[in-house]
Symmetry: C7
Subunit: 94 residues, 7 copies
């Protein structure tokens, strides 16, 4: 298993179609398009200058929207993942 460090999360990509199961459709525009994923593992959070460690706002299992072109691709046990910083996560799909 992969354990992300700091404020990083590991996600599985949810392939974007015109209309996904959760109802998100990415528009046809020149703007940066977000992508959808599912959180697999989260880091222990970043440390503030007062020494406090700040827990992430997302948990394993959450479906999220993140900024496209962010993160690093990795394959593990034959599956593809993406390692993101939590600041690249835009919203949780509830």
């Amino acid at each position: 298993m992969l354990k992300p460090l700091g404020d990083r999360v590991i996600i599985e990509l949810v392939e974007s179609e015109e209309k996904t199961a959760s109802g998100i459709v990415l528009p046809d525009s020149a703007k940066e398009k977000p992508q959808e994923g599912k959180v697999v593992a989260v880091g222990s959070g970043r440390v503030l200058e007062n020494g406090e460690r700040l827990a992430l706002e997302v948990s394993a299992g959450d479906r999220i929207i993140f900024s496209k072109y962010s993160g690093t691709e990795v394959k593990y046990d034959g599956k593809e993942y993406l390692i993101l910083r939590d600041s690249d996560i835009l919203a949780i799909v509830q």
Copy 2:
């Protein structure tokens, strides 16, 4: 439903015409033009270096003016939204 993270807000666009219902008219100039929107959901706020989480100044339902070209477009359940950081919000229309 979409829940924005940190200091982000989700808004519905209010289409800008020469003169909108709320009385805002965007001028004809070379300067960056603001746009109008309605807040749909707000994040829990950014965390200060002393560990305190700072609540946003806007709430769901507020009509706002924001900097054009800021934010990320997303469609959800067939409707278009924009995810902004609260620092891209210029003013509340009261």
Copy 3:
């Protein structure tokens, strides 16, 4: 009415002539020229890293000089305004 957020202020432009009523004349030079305005509304101020919110140094009604080319133009109820950050304000005309 428009309520600016954070450290922003909303001003009415005072049209700059060679010599304005308040006695300010903008010089003929290659340097950045300031402009004059009147404060219409002020935000609640920016938040310091210790959580304290810092009140602005200007109030509604103040005549100010600000850096030209700063801020965002907006029309509201048929009148033109400019939304500035308070760091773009150079001085108060007393």
Copy 4:
């Protein structure tokens, strides 16, 4: 009268000649040349992240040397002034 904001000061320019009254001569070199001025008014100072407001090191009446090309020119009541940040002031002439 003009009241500068924050860490800004308003100065009157002292025209630089080969040798000024106070004895400062600007050298003939490719380096950035400083200029001399007299402080007319000072702001209330910048605010530290602990909320404390830091008084300026210069007062009205001080003769100062500042970095050339810094600041913003303004005319008021027919006289020319320069609005500087105190970080552009190099030294006080005592």
Copy 5:
């Protein structure tokens, strides 16, 4: 022996093949590709602005994934190592 300073770690490279022993396969894409390594020694951590020294999240012996092209190569006693900052470490392989 080499003792890294601050938030640095020293690692041995694990040569990346199409499929490594631990099951990580680096994908064929234009994105930045991570690499795998084994931690040999860790620094005492970076110091926060409150004076506290923050221990690293990795220990000697950990298998890690790090951002390719990060770090500095060094040979010591005939073996090749890489000196990284801990912020270049993406995840621990558990």
Copy 6:
């Protein structure tokens, strides 16, 4: 006399020859070459974000080595000086 502000110091240049009195010789290389000087006056120091003013590490009379091309030249009472920030000082010659 000139009183430098904040973390600035005023120095007299010590002309660099192949071998100076204090034994410093500047090498013939493509690297940035340091220069030698003597401190004439020091500022009251920079202010930390906790409000404390940090005294400089150098005093009037110290011989120092500083980064070449740093600082601002000024003439006063017919003598040439250089105004530096203390962060441009590399070492004290003891």
Copy 7:
């Protein structure tokens, strides 16, 4: 003698050969190559924003590896030294 300021250290270069006495060999690659040196003198450390001065992790006599192309060359009493910031030091050779 030279006393470095703040977080600076003064080192003597240890000429890099294919294989040095301490066993470090610099690899033949396009990556930035580190160099070896011996610490001659250390500064009193940098000051944190809480006013605390942070002692360096290296002491006079330590053999270190540092990032090539960092620091400033200086000759003193006929010997060549390099003045570095401690953040340019990668590791101590123990």
